[in-house]
Symmetry: C2
Subunit: 132 residues, 2 copies
């Protein structure tokens, strides 16, 4: 009787690595390590290797044998993960309503300059939609 799990999002480190792959497009373990190092994140080579292999098992990245080192390629797109993360957040705290999240941001997290810019975005967005 153990947790079947299923929905579960990625862990922090897994996301670090996925993000490196999203930026790099296609990368070896060293590439990922180098990228993370630039971000100030230091992880052992073998750790990254382990994570990448586990991500492959989960079907989130593909491995291509390229010469000596393997190259890994993300199979899910970043937007999908962003969407998933937003969905989880809204389901958890806003009864699944993205609008309620947006309302929360407007009321709590954004200052008036930011509101101005969001305002402009809304206008632009509406023009886009009208045109269609």
């Amino acid at each position: 009787m153990t947790a079947p799990r299923g929905d579960r999002s990625l862990g922090d480190r897994e996301l670090d690595i996925m993000q490196a792959l999203w930026r790099l497009g296609r990368a070896t373990v060293s590439d990922v390590q180098g990228h993370l190092r630039e971000q100030g994140v230091e992880i052992a080579y073998t750790t990254i290797q382990t994570m990448l292999n586990r991500l492959e098992v989960k079907g989130l990245v593909a491995r291509e044998t390229a010469g000596k080192a393997h190259a890994y390629r993300p199979l899910v797109k970043e937007p999908a993960e962003v969407g998933g993360a937003i969905r989880r957040l809204t389901e958890r705290f806003f009864e699944g309503s993205v609008e309620a999240l947006a309302a929360h941001l407007v009321e709590r997290d954004l200052d008036s300059e930011q509101l101005d810019r969001i305002q402009a975005l809304i206008d632009a967005q509406r023009r886009r939609e009208d045109r269609r």
Copy 2:
């Protein structure tokens, strides 16, 4: 050399339980179980008890011996957790910018009716801020 961890948010079930407490205010194990059952979530009594006790150790809930059964009370407010969740999301995917998250919602997730309502909220918010 193990993960010191530290930032990590709550797990899914822990959040289920915290949310039950936020709704109920103060509740026994049975109360929580009943509430979760209404939400269609079925967890064993002792499981909830274990989670609550662990949450107490973490300092997220307080336990009060009330008659026969213990009563648990949330020590963190829901808004704080919502804020934390939003912060984590933005840090992860939007370089820490809440505004970028808002922009994402406007551009991807909200339809024009929702934009209308958000628009109205922005206006209201701005009036509130002007007054100050």
